[in-house]
Symmetry: C2
Subunit: 407 residues, 2 copies
């Protein structure tokens, strides 16, 4: 094992900062939201990081998530937890997307989704800070990642999910040793239960952006993308947006990379993709609002982005606007068609949320929002294998004469 994984070191974390007010909070203690109820962002001494780490040093390391250790908050090597967070591949989808459209296939991560990036970091920090019991609301994939990493560390977990969460997700969470409850409501209803228990001191609240370290794990999507593309960024990124941790994280990553002098000031246009049946960020974007109101009666086949209210709404909207991008909504039929086309024509099975990014790209292309010759990255946030596929087989009796012409 390389020494950056085994050597203890002071992290380069200087402090945490309220994303709304800028108020400072100390590192190395447990935090949820800031005093004004907003997410905390982790800040680093980036000039010290730049002295400790070069792009050449990075290139010599294994390509997994922990190669970025100097830009991550874990202090002691013994608290690094891992299930093999590989660098996810960029897969061209020339037939269903276009010549310069790449899918970053996050379904290859542990537990089959990009939630592993956030949770590996949050659990490692929970371990470092002595947390023994964690609760979380989830639409499925985050709960699976939490359960897996916490099981590995011997941390107890309790997970609450909406009652219509796909059975495969619920069973995966339970198989990995978590106690899992189905709640008659949506993810924010589950979040309310977690918050109540946390207020009573029963567990630590791991809701999206309510603890500061998931975003640090998620930002590795941005770090990795820059490294994979030879220290430049694509023209546009289409990101399936529920809680938006990844979009916020990538935006933060790009700033950190620029501060290190590893990339320039050029940024991709960030497209926050939501489903028409649950599009609070799109509504706020179009209305010019800084915050997004709760979306009532949320419904979409893309359960992972069925998030009626996001605590980081203003951070998502800010990043999208600064980037020159947009928030876009796509309907379920377009999502399902995109999934079908990509599998059938490019051999790549997307999850519905990944399908939403392809559908949004197609819509943006039609609307002249992107050009066909621009380099675009779509995030497929989970393996398509977790989601129901249409039935499609016929039976053949081997004892009968087979009509080969008809096969």
């Amino acid at each position: 094992m390389d020494d950056y994984l085994t050597a203890d070191r002071p992290t380069f974390v200087t402090h945490l900062e309220c994303s709304m007010t800028g108020e400072h909070y100390p590192a190395d203690t447990l935090h949820n939201l800031s005093k004004v109820g907003r997410p905390l962002l982790v800040r680093y001494d980036l000039s010290a990081v730049g002295e400790a780490l070069s792009r050449d040093t990075l290139s010599a390391r294994d390509t997994d998530l922990w190669r970025w250790r100097e830009l991550l908050p874990v202090r002691r090597a013994e608290n690094i937890v891992s299930l093999g967070e590989i660098e996810t591949p960029l897969i061209p989808v020339p037939k269903s997307g276009g010549e310069r459209v790449l899918v970053k296939d996050e379904g290859r991560l542990p537990t089959g989704s990009f939630k592993a990036r956030g949770l590996v970091m949050a659990v490692a920090m929970a371990k470092e800070l002595g947390v023994r019991r964690i609760a979380m609301p989830t639409n499925g994939n985050a709960g699976a990642a939490l359960a897996a990493y916490a099981a590995r560390c011997g941390i107890e977990t309790i997970v609450f999910c909406p009652e219509d969460t796909p059975e495969v997700n619920v069973r995966e969470i339970a198989a990995q040793g978590s106690r899992v409850w189905r709640v008659n409501g949506l993810i924010d209803d589950c979040g309310a239960i977690v918050a109540k228990g946390a207020a009573e001191g029963r567990w630590f609240d791991f809701s999206t952006l309510k603890e500061p370290y998931r975003i640090e794990g998620k930002k590795t999507m941005g770090l990795e993308l820059a490294a994979q593309l030879g220290w430049r960024l694509p023209d546009a990124i289409f990101y399936p947006t529920g809680g938006g941790t990844g979009l916020i994280g990538m935006w933060k990553a790009f700033d950190e990379l620029e501060a290190l002098g590893w990339i320039g000031s050029k940024r991709p246009r960030m497209y926050a993709v939501q489903a028409s049946g649950c599009a609070p960020i799109v509504r706020a974007f179009e209305a010019g609002e800084e915050h997004a109101e709760r979306w009532e009666d949320a419904h979409t086949v893309a359960a992972g982005i069925r998030v009626p209210r996001a605590v980081g709404d203003f951070l998502i909207l800010r990043a999208v606007r600064e980037s020159g991008g947009k928030a876009l909504a796509v309907g379920d039929p377009a999502i399902l068609k995109a999934v079908d086309d990509c599998a059938r024509r490019d051999g790549l099975l997307l999850c519905p949320e990944g399908g939403a990014t392809l559908a949004a790209y197609r819509q943006a292309l039609r609307d002249g929002e992107v050009d066909a010759d621009e380099e675009v990255v779509l995030f497929n946030c989970a393996t398509g294998l977790k989601y129901p596929l249409p039935p499609a087989s016929a039976t053949l009796d081997r004892h009968q004469v087979i009509d080969f012409e008809a096969l």
Copy 2:
């Protein structure tokens, strides 16, 4: 893209060779089995490979499967097909296995299984050799990989699977554009239908080891393992054995690496793991036979290794014996317990076939066949998410007063 992926080159393939008689066959033409009905092996000019490629050159390349291009048969760059065949991670399972037990997690490959390694190569070669229509019998995962790569190349595919193949596999195959038939029989019954259609000239037969290139793709498991471990090999490998292509492929890879001078003569003990309900190789191994008879009434939860008869039986048995390993059978209860333990304690969800390797390792440890301080690699051949998990959730009414003590 690096030039080893874009530059055309003569391959280093010199010829193909009958694995039974040693008779030579020309490269660059279509082949199924040799004249005596046995698999063909691809042979290379390894001294020329050694001049063209060094371990340092390899280290500078991206770590995916195509880094091994000089040891692979594809001639023209335009025929390289890819869905992101990443180097699969080695994941320690200290609690359910042991301190030096590593799981090579092949579920991270495209279509969620190690079948992608074989099929990416076989489909690329089919493209290179002008094949337009392919048929294959499958227990599920191979069909999914075939469908995906062939869809990407525009090659037509027809897949036959046993009637009780898991629904998720069948749907995945269909979603990726293949025509799929359920047959009232086992995989060799499906194979008979494919053989009949091939004899009538309706399609090219892609059955395990019946075309020569899947084994070349599968051998990258051995190449990759050596590179990941710093050009040495583990003490023992536990491999879930149905058709055995991977075991045969790794054994071939080790010889090629030794011929290149990149590893020494030390080999891992190879353990071919089968299920008690379908263990033809184990029976032949124990009886000292060179070939294995068909196993009647095959049944096991590990459908991927439910292969009653393997055309490469003698190659599997030869490798196992030369290595000083064994063929081992484990029962379904031990398989299911291993899957459960590994998920619950190490946070890693194995497929049943991967669970079989952990069960076999535990059995071998109890029997003194392996020592606890030996370095062991278990192959988890597919993502555990494709397989049914036990139901395990409770419901909670958010409108009622919640008894937090009881959660």
